[in-house]
Symmetry: C2
Subunit: 344 residues, 2 copies
Amino acid sequence: MPSTSSPPDPIPTGEAITAAFAGRRVAVLGGLGFIGSAAVLRLIELGAQVTVVDGLLEGFGGDRHNLPETLPDGEIHIVDVREDGLEEILAGAEVVINTVGQVSHQRSITDPIGDLEANCRAQIHILEACRRISPPVVVYAGTRQIYGRAPELPITEAVPAAPVDINGVNKYTGEEYHRIYHEVHGLPTVRLRLTNTYGPRQSLEVGSSQGVVPTFIRRALHGEPLRVYGHGRQRRDITHVDDVIGAILAVASTSETNGHVYNLGSDRPISVGVLAEAIAAETGVQMEYIAYPDELKSIEIGDSWSSYDRLQLATGWRPRVGFASGIAATIEFYRRHPEYWRGG
Amino acid sequence: MPSTSSPPDPIPTGEAITAAFAGRRVAVLGGLGFIGSAAVLRLIELGAQVTVVDGLLEGFGGDRHNLPETLPDGEIHIVDVREDGLEEILAGAEVVINTVGQVSHQRSITDPIGDLEANCRAQIHILEACRRISPPVVVYAGTRQIYGRAPELPITEAVPAAPVDINGVNKYTGEEYHRIYHEVHGLPTVRLRLTNTYGPRQSLEVGSSQGVVPTFIRRALHGEPLRVYGHGRQRRDITHVDDVIGAILAVASTSETNGHVYNLGSDRPISVGVLAEAIAAETGVQMEYIAYPDELKSIEIGDSWSSYDRLQLATGWRPRVGFASGIAATIEFYRRHPEYWRGG
């Protein structure tokens, strides 16, 4: 008989995931950042004991207000992972979730050394600490941006990396370190390649991120017209952060994914123009199409979307949050929390 | 009519190369190292004005004795490229030859941060300095080790990088920076992928290099048996440093190679066993076959040889130094110069 079914859970829950994390000691590196804090909040719901590490480095997206003052069953360490002492903080962790890094393409052009520090050196410090404490799993939140201009669509994990800027090179290097530590040292790392993650608690500050979704949302909240570069038909996989956390928890709850790399992806790539239209419709701002700025031309990648078949096969993961509802809920979050953009 | 022709020049000389470098200002980074000093000595012969930069970092293969006290028409700067001032030293250079880096696989395992410093951070400092002074060409001496275990033989430049250790990852990152600075900033970089370079002035110190040729030569000179790991049938391209310098000068003397990447290679890959036999025959030491050490198993890559078709097509380069004569001459060099190995 027909029933009014509730929408699917935005992330895998159910007994399996709850059992996998209830009472478990989980360390989240970059845990005051956008993706890291979402992971922490979800893990608390699941009953995990969470240790948060975040250096709160200027412009990296970490924000002390992303988490409550104290965690119910955990602790927050404001520590740069490059400093001594990380090993002691991580000791006993059963899962390490690594969201450390900086994601600004443009900043990597003006400050390539800073990008190297965040995306390469920090990763070695993390992996060296993990190697000594030997946790059962380390999940690395990487990016599909390492593919650069897609030679074929959808992009599978077999496509060679061909990043178009220093940030992409360094992000790939950090991901590769995770592969090498698995192959050489037996550290059980899993690598995820995220794609255009958006949602609550993402820094909207100018310069923190060049992500198209937060850039549009920031402008829309300020009542500024949304600027679409070029024809706006470049399509992307847009992923709600809840789905990203779902993927992280999914690979962290099985050992079968250890040593492997997985794309995230969507069922419907969205063009930049359609994305702008949706945000403009939700907020009432105007849109304008302008020529691609010269300084960004060399790093424009055209269409880019990924197959998530491998991840689905391994864990059952698929994206659950619809584009329209995800965007609407995200804008609603920022309206309730003007502190995320009023200063920016 | 038949004639007794002399053997071909070990590196491209002739009027074209002499004209390309006579009176030209060439900077050699890592110029007190093995490959760097060979480049400097050759450039002096060709009448270039050479600026040498070398940090003489412990264990990186740089040696003040690799060059004379003063250069006839140049200068030597003992400077770490990561320090300020590189731009001023390089100002006016018409060619920059970049041989900076550290090549020890094993050290990258025990000191991954040190490896990152040498192979990634140093490269960004070099490229940033080059970007500001805008030389007509920057040649980067990279390595075929980035390919890791060859998925097909011979390896062409189209084979994706798949390094097997941190050193390989970082070396690839440094190479990728050179590509990105070309694509994003228009800096005319050329990337070469060297393979098992050997010859005079290579450091034979334990720990400076894990290269199979210098390791065998060091043991042979000390009268120790040559240890071949495993069956010894793994084949490699062995390149004499004179041929490497030939390749560097060849790509530096045309703008057509700018922005591209080129393998070096040989006409006859040599097995590790045959290499050991040749060195043993030349020196009278014994050989022994031993099991592959556990700590090296994860970074053993099996057969690996490369196609140099692309480089030959672009510049006419091909290796000139024969294996047997190259090995004999190299051993002869070290016999005449015991200071290269008596301390080690």
